[in-house]
Amino acid sequence: MNLQAIAAIYGFEMNRTRRTLGQSVVSPVLSTSLYFVVFGSAIGPRMAEVGGVAYGAFIVPGLMMLTLLTQSISNAAFAIYFPRFTGTIYELLSAPVSPFEIVAGYVGAAATKSTVLGLIILATASLFVPLEIRHPFWVLGFLVLTAVTFSLFGFIIGIWADGFERLQLIPMLVITPLTFLGGTFYSLDMLPPVWRTVTLFNPVVYLVSGFRWSFFGHSDVRVEVSFAMTLAFLIVCLFTVRWMFRTGYRLKS
């Protein structure tokens, strides 16, 4: 195991985060704060409680997930796409590193960054709404698991993308709509039965639901199912990355 290489890649990526601290941290925190101002403070008091939880508090897990998913994907996708774009990937491919070490470095850094962001957003949220967390361990568990899974997904997009437009395509056209329709701002109970069934095909529902359970102790979908679905997606991503490195897909000719 080339631990030095993992540390080098991880350090390099975290350094990039430090260099771009403004756009890395300030902008997601600002946009999440705006959601709290609009949905929590302005609209929230006029909404009924959802499952015994004030609306302002109810949306916290969903908003954290929204940031976590988009940030994990964009961080990891950019991290591997940029060296491909500039050509500096030659060094990575010629180094004595295994695919696992490359992934551990890049995905580890992207996941760390989005986990920290998630925690910052949680801290920001607690300034707007009173929060009581029922299962803190599970909050952290879901946070890390989701960050790792979607950073891995972002890494795949970064290898697949052959232009900056494509890099944005999946996060903009797929992830954001799925997150908005994944119960970020509502409980599935609020939907008509048909849409409730349709929604169950949206993987983000399971993430938000499980995460909400760890906050409030109840959820739309059973927590075990949420956990299993996230894990299943992680495994699919792992196999996809393994296939990409084995075949050299868009990395080697």
Partner: protein, 319 residues
């Protein structure tokens, strides 16, 4: 102590290497090559001949479709860690992390190749490349020549046994080129094996111990540079006469001399591998013949064909 595969005198062994791209383009055909430990090997060839593909396969950037490569006895696929950790690669393109500092990017390379941080060594590398005063500069602020040095520093950061320089002089000014040649010689003196590809034959001629010529994906020749020059090189002796000659005397016919229009200059072209032949057609033989014919001369000079001339004639010879 167990004998390691790295103990042999050849540091890279390429056998039956082939690369056909998905498009059907055959970039390498049955390439066999041994690179000796500690030598400077120049790989020459026209654009698209397969030089970069060959380097890319050895370094792990491109998958071969046939054959195998060993670096210090380690297979580049099965033992890729052992093989790659011995190699430093300076690519042809100036591909750098624009936003990083010189120090950070060179330290990153060392870590990537599995080496523990060693600031003293990085400092030595940066100083030897005249980069020390730029160590905190962002790479994007550097000139093209400086960026080339940064790429060399990155390749040397993990103390490789073999250094690949792919077109090291592309876009580099004369001063930097001289600096680089000096550095390459110093590295060779320290025991590093150097393989360079170049268009500048002057570069190969100046530095290489051996030369390989690649054309259309095939290695058409590998030879000691000196031998190659001797085998294929030509020398020309020009003799300036004191008085013009109207015609060449019969006694000089065997030399195949050319007489200039004004009759004042005689040109004698001969293969360098004839030197030492005792058939009377050597320079000494010619001068003796001139003297016995009573032809006086006031000056003479010789010219030797360059590697460039040899190279052009070799590549042209290919169908």
């Amino acid at each position: 102590m167990i004998a390691t595969p790295g103990a042999s005198s050849s540091v890279i062994t390429v056998s039956g290497l082939g690369k056909t791209y998905a498009t059907g383009h055959v970039a390498l055909k049955d390439v066999c090559l041994e690179i000796r430990r500690g030598e400077i090997f120049a790989l020459l060839g026209p654009n698209g001949a397969g030089k970069t593909t060959l380097i890319s396969v050895i370094c792990g950037l491109v998958n071969a479709t046939a054959g195998k490569v060993e670096v210090a006895g380690y297979d580049i696929v099965a033992d890729y860690r052992a093989a790659r950790s011995r190699i430093g690669l300076v690519p042809q393109e100036l591909t750098t992390d624009s936003f990083e500092s010189v120090w950070a990017t060179v330290s990153f390379s060392r870590g990537l190749f599995g080496r523990k941080a060693n600031p003293a060594y990085i400092e030595k590398v940066l100083r030897s490349l005249s980069l020390w005063d730029k160590k905190d500069a962002r790479i994007m602020t550097l000139s093209g020549g400086m960026k080339r040095r940064v790429l060399i520093a990155k390749a040397l950061s993990h103390e490789p046994e073999v250094l690949f320089l792919d077109e090291p002089s592309a876009g580099v000014d004369v001063e930097l080129r001289r600096d680089m040649w000096r550095l390459v010689r110093e590295l060779r003196d320290e025991g590093v094996t150097i393989i360079l590809t170049t268009h500048y034959l002057e570069e190969a001629e100046e530095m290489a111990d051996r030369v390989g010529v690649i054309a259309k994906g095939e290695l058409i020749l590998v030879e000691e540079k000196a031998t190659l020059m001797r085998k294929l090189g030509k020398k020309q002796l020009t003799v300036e006469l004191t008085a013009p000659l109207v015609a060449l005397p019969q006694a000089l016919a065997d030399f195949g001399l050319a007489l200039s229009d004004d009759g004042i200059r005689l040109t004698y072209t001969y293969a360098t591998n004839r030197e030492g032949d005792d058939d009377g057609l050597s320079i000494a033989g010619l001068l003796a013949a001139l003297s016995s014919e009573g032809i006086a001369f006031k000056d003479l000079h010789t010219e030797q064909s360059s590697l460039e001339d040899i190279f052009v004639s070799l590549v042209r010879r290919e169908p």
